[in-house]
């Protein structure tokens, strides 16, 4: 009986609950912080929950926030699977947004075509911004974490320049002291709203379909196999005839593309113009970083990223409600997100330990090594 329980607890399936344990740990630490700040954690978390799910509009806002997180998370799944640490989604989203809004404002055409091209151009813009650090890593051996962070800072300045100058709304330009923003896109280019009066837009379908596409790409195509092989073991891949450098560039190209698309959808689906508040995350709302959190929480699996994006979208929307109820600044959620990342990557050691336990158990209990006990590629 005891043996059965031990075997059940060692079961591989339980590993997928580790991220949830990690989130619980982060929330527990967060509760301690709330207590220190003189707020009641139960009231704060309850306010967050109601703020994110309490009514139709709250739920719609949660999904609206989840869309860019999911799109960026999908891109991060691709690049992290290739062991390419793309920290540049912020910049890629900005550049995708800039180029798509510039196109939408400059070109007149039939609505559906303009919309389609606008999103496509955003996709490509982000892809190019991602491919630059990809090329630098593949052919010049430049650490991509550093180069993508620098590319973020450059993109922010590019945005501040363009929105404050060449792309600035002509009407805005006359009134001083307003936020930098572009003119409004023509009505015909707007992505459909699904549930007026809420802001839920058709971008959510785009993101969900793409999650399936990325799933198929990663796990059922040669390209996906190559990308994962490079991440799992670059030298073995090279001996196996995979052009490792090429896969690195492709991984960052695709990763950037999804971030760029997220930027374009934020404009064509939500604001109908590009707008910032002068801070680096003024346009993105930090989606570039939170998208990484989303992907990690989803186990770097495109389908896992769907519930993960919903969860973090809820946190972001809930944070504002919490701020109203408890006076704790919404930055609290940023801290929570950071702690989730730390705990999720730390949980990997448990996975290793459990793997070892299973192998030990297999050796001692079972004369033949079972398939279950064979080492599997780690996903972190």
């Amino acid at each position: 009986m005891k043996n059965h329980l031990a075997r059940l607890l060692r079961a591989k399936q339980l590993d997928s609950f580790l991220p949830i344990v990690a989130v619980l740990a982060a929330f527990l630490l967060g509760a301690g912080m709330l207590l220190l700040m003189g707020a009641n954690p139960i009231i704060a978390y309850r306010a967050m929950f109601i703020g994110a799910f309490g009514n139709q509009n709250a739920l719609a806002e949660t999904i609206v926030k989840a869309v860019p997180l999911l799109l960026i998370g999908l891109g991060i799944c691709i690049s992290f699977r290739a062991k390419v640490m793309n920290i540049g989604a912020e910049g890629q989203m900005i550049v995708g947004g800039l180029i798509s809004v510039a196109f939408g404002l400059a070109v007149d055409g039939p609505g559906w075509l303009g919309l389609l091209l606008g999103l496509l151009i955003g996709f490509l813009g982000g892809a190019v911004w991602g491919a630059i650090p990809g090329i630098l890593k593949a052919y010049f051996n430049v650490n991509e974490i550093l180069s993508t962070v620098m590319m973020n800072a450059i993109a922010v300045q590019l945005m501040n320049y363009l929105l404050g100058g060449p792309l600035m709304d002509p009407q805005q330009a006359q009134s001083l002291g307003k936020l930098p923003e572009t003119a409004r896109l023509p009505e015909a280019y707007h992505l459909m709203r699904l549930l007026p009066p809420t802001r839920l837009h058709a971008g959510v379908w785009v993101a969900l379909v793409l999650a399936l596409v990325v799933y198929v790409l990663l796990f059922h195509t040669t390209l996906g196999y190559r990308i994962r092989a490079v991440g799992f073991n670059p030298s073995a891949s090279r001996y196996g005839g995979i052009r490792v450098q090429q896969q690195v560039v492709i991984a960052l190209f695709l990763s950037g593309a999804f971030a760029g698309l997220a930027g374009a959808i934020q404009i064509y689906g939500l604001n109908y113009r590009m707008i910032t508040d002068g801070s680096p995350t003024g346009f993105t709302g930090g989606a570039g970083f939170n998208g990484i959190v989303t992907a990690l929480f989803g186990g770097l699996h495109p389908l896992g990223a769907i519930p993960a994006s919903f969860f973090f979208g809820a946190l972001l929307v809930g944070a504002n409600a919490m701020q109203r109820v408890t006076q704790v600044p919404s930055s609290f959620v940023t801290v929570l997100n950071g702690m989730v990342v730390v705990f999720v990557v730390s949980a990997a050691i448990w996975k290793d330990l459990r793997e070892r336990q299973r192998r030990m158990a297999a050796v001692t209990q079972d004369p033949k090594p079972s398939i279950e006990a064979s080492p599997t590629p780690s996903t972190g």
């Binding site: 010049f140 620098m150 501040n160 100058g165 801070s279 970083f289 950071g338 990342v341 730390v342």
Partner: protein, 311 residues
């Protein structure tokens, strides 16, 4: 601006003076990161540690009026953040690139949270570290202004470089650090406690990053703003690569950067006919160019980012 030509002696002196001063946050953070990387741990949380250091130092100085207490408090916070990173990356063997980003997000969020909760608005202090005139030397023409009328943290930052060199190359500790970063298994066999050495360097890295943040908020600017480091922590990590993991290499890189920063600020002030956004981009573009030019020239510590597991 015809009255003051951009490249007059006064302006050039001004740029160099500012450049020396601006180097100090980079130096503290990058030297700390260098020790951590030399022992085999990539700490990408530097930016978050700097922000927490900057806030803590500023807040304590504002409340007590004593910048030394502010600096001490920042160092304590640095110890805590460094220890947290050490536990996660050494004991729990987490992927260092990602856990570092996690700590960056925590530090950024926490400093913002504390800023909003405790200060609420941007405040200025006048009790930060002031410029200290070194007797006699400060009166030297030109050189006096550039080198000998700086604040105490700038002097400390520059003194740290030879000190770091001495520790790294001339002490047993330094030998152990380098051994642990190059070949932890060999070091382990010889009786060096790998985990202990790495705990020490990562914690020290946290302290130095926090001091770097403090240099910004209570010595150079005397103000705290959300996200005020604006990527300096990441540039500091890049400087370690650029400097070839050597103290004087890091010094050279830090000076190059801070001089470009100073030049950029002066060009803005003198309304140079380039949009300021492009001037602000300069250090970031330079980082990328410099990484392209230097990577591959020097070999990184062999065990960098590899957790140690005794076989």
């Amino acid at each position: 601006m015809e009255t003051t030509p951009l490249f007059s002696l006064a302006v050039v002196t001004g740029i160099l003076t500012a450049g020396i001063r601006l180097a100090s946050p980079y130096l503290f953070a990058a030297i700390g990161e260098m020790f951590s990387q030399r022992s085999g741990v990539l700490n990408l949380g530097v930016e978050g540690q700097m922000l927490m250091g900057a806030f803590t130092a500023f807040y304590v100085t504002l409340r007590t009026g004593n910048p030394w207490l502010g600096l001490l408090a920042a160092m304590l916070v640095g110890v805590l953040m460094g220890l947290a990173m050490a536990v996660v990356s050494i004991t729990w063997r987490a992927v260092q690139g990602i856990s570092g980003i996690g700590f960056y997000i925590v530090g950024m969020g926490l400093s913002e949270l504390l800023f909003k909760a405790l200060l609420g608005e941007v405040k200025v202090i006048n009790t930060g570290f002031n410029a200290i005139h070194i007797p006699l030397l400060a009166n030297l023409p030109v050189l006096g202004e550039i080198f000998f009328r700086q604040n105490i943290m700038t002097y400390m930052a520059f003194a740290l470089v030879p000190l770091a060199w001495f520790v790294l190359y001339k002490t047993t500790l330094g030998l152990k650090i380098r051994a642990v970063g190059e070949n932890p298994h060999a070091a382990d066999t010889l009786g060096v406690n790998v985990a202990q050495i790495r705990y020490l360097t990562v914690t020290m890295g946290g302290v130095l990053s926090a001091i770097g943040g403090a240099a910004l908020s209570i010595a150079n600017l005397n103000v705290f703003q959300e996200n005020m480091t604006a990527g300096m922590g990441f540039i500091a990590v890049a400087l370690v690569y650029f400097g070839g993991w050597k103290p004087f290499g890091v010094l050279f890189g830090a000076l190059l950067f801070s001089m470009v920063m100073a030049l950029q600020i002066f060009l803005q002030v003198y309304r140079f006919p380039i949009p300021s956004e492009f001037l602000i981009m300069m250090p970031y573009i330079l980082t990328i160019v410099v990484l392209v030019l230097t990577v591959g020239r020097v070999r990184s510590p062999s065990a960098l980012t590899r957790p140690f597991v005794r076989e």
